[in-house]
């Protein structure tokens, strides 16, 4: 049995390292500039997704609103939270754009049209973004150290447990295939 021991030990070490250590090591974590609560904005301010995340006239998606949009309400501190106070002090007053990290930012070679999915295909936001709109805090942005890809687009805690990156082509392809909308690479790539 002694003969097999070094082999087993080596295998065990790598198994532990590969399953437990690697998924932690491969991601670089970066906190969001502001502890933003979607929940507060949805519940208290009664806002819908599209109130802040709007389409422009040419069909492009504006994404995360710029500071002017926030400053429209938060010109001065409205509530009692520390997060809001910090936001107003650090960003609104000095008119500094917060450097949001976009979980769902698509890689450079992907052309993703929000309007085609929302307006044509009638998908709701949570189909892809999960219950992000109801979250109370922003999770740190996690970036793959090698590929530079975001770890997930769902931004929900349960996805973080998986080792597999969320931003894979297969998820897109699966749905497109079901819809009979898979023609060529350049459908989605640019």
């Amino acid at each position: 049995m002694r003969g097999i021991f070094p082999f087993a030990a080596g295998a065990a070490i790598m198994l532990v390292a590969g399953w437990a250590g690697f998924p932690r090591a491969i991601y670089k974590s970066r906190p969001q500039p502001v502890d933003f609560s979607h929940k507060v904005h949805a519940d208290k301010a009664g806002q819908k997704c599209e109130d802040c995340h709007a389409f422009r006239p040419d069909g492009t998606f504006a994404g995360i609103p710029t500071l002017d949009k926030c400053a429209g309400c938060h010109a001065a501190v409205m509530g009692a939270t520390v997060a809001e106070k910090n936001f107003v002090e650090q960003y609104v007053t000095p008119a500094r754009e917060p450097q949001w990290a976009v979980y769902a930012r698509q890689p450079e070679n992907v052309f993703f049209s929000h309007i085609a999915h929302v307006k044509r295909a009638q998908l709701t936001c949570d189909t892809c973004h999960g219950d992000h709109g109801a979250s109370d805090h922003l999770l740190p942005y996690q970036e793959d150290r090698v590929s530079g890809y975001s770890r997930n687009i769902w931004q929900t805690a349960d996805r973080v447990k998986t080792t597999r990156a969320a931003m894979t082509m297969s998820a897109c392809v699966e749905c497109h295939r079901q819809q009979g909308l898979e023609h060529s690479c350049l459908d989605c790539h640019k």
Partner: protein, 264 residues
């Protein structure tokens, strides 16, 4: 490739280029490079390894001065329709033909850089990134966000300005148009041609300008004999221009053997 099983009207985008109008100004080449984030020449790049998705060749009738008469032929990917030579040779499905548009698409991110497709393409319409793409300092700010810059070591080529097609589709979605009809858009070269020698549109649309031009007299395609069914049509009233599109040696015997076009 999966064919579309949704009821859409497939387009066959194509071009008709009026050779008799082309002044060879080069606006199409520049507009193409600007649109598609093709970097300027790296130090050491030549006409042999520089990248330009559309190249304007100067051709001539092969007669000596002063009987020489020239014409300009812009050559980009011909978007072959029939047994597209490059699609079948790619070992990893980096090239495909979109059944919805007829565009021969190339995915640089899938490309391994084996360059077999370049050997297969009779038009020399494919270009390899021999260098890392490099823009002078600051000039990368002027890159088109609709087209991703390619990395070195991959092949690239004209895709009828796919970024513009995406933008047009998105605009159509915003305007509430259904996605069953092909969108109307213009590639950068067609838009930039100051003399409008390049007509672009859906060849399946018989009323469209390119389709009508393609049907008219003097229309020809490059290397039609190879049965590659290109979607780029050319037009010229001059016989020698039309002859040069197909013959391997259109003017053999008119001057010494091995004569070549040196400024093409």
């Amino acid at each position: 490739m999966i064919g579309p099983n949704k009821q859409i009207r497939a387009a066959r985008y194509g071009m008709t280029i009026d050779v008799d109008r082309c002044t060879g100004c080069g606006a199409c080449m520049v507009a193409c490079a600007v649109e598609n984030n093709v970097p300027p020449a790296h130090a050491g790049a030549t006409d042999r390894n520089g990248i330009t998705w559309i190249r304007v060749y100067k051709i001539d009738n092969g007669l000596p001065y002063p009987e020489t008469r020239s014409a300009f032929i812009p050559v980009m990917c011909q978007h072959c329709g029939n047994e597209t030579p490059c699609v079948h040779v790619c070992p990893q499905q980096a090239v495909d033909v979109d059944p919805a548009t007829g565009v021969v698409g190339e995915m640089p991110q899938r490309c391994l850089g084996c360059r077999y497709c370049m050997a297969a393409c009779p038009y020399h319409a494919r270009y390899f990134n021999w260098w890392d793409p490099a823009w002078p300092k600051g000039m990368e700010k002027t890159l088109n966000p609709d087209v991703t810059p390619r990395m070195r070591g991959v092949v690239e080529k004209c895709n009828f300005c796919h970024g513009r097609w995406h933008a047009a589709k998105q605009q159509a979605a915003a305007e509430g148009k259904p996605d069953t009809e092909p969108v109307q858009y213009l590639p950068a070269c067609a838009e930039a041609c100051p003399i409008k020698a390049i007509q672009f549109g859906d060849l399946n649309d018989p009323a469209g300008a390119p389709a009508r031009a393609a049907q008219s007299g003097g229309s020809f395609r490059l290397l039609e004999k190879l049965h590659t069914d290109p979607k780029i049509y050319y037009r010229s009233k001059r016989d020698w221009v039309r002859a040069s599109a197909n013959a391997p040696h259109p003017f053999a015997g008119q001057h010494e053997a091995g004569k070549e076009n040196h400024r093409g």
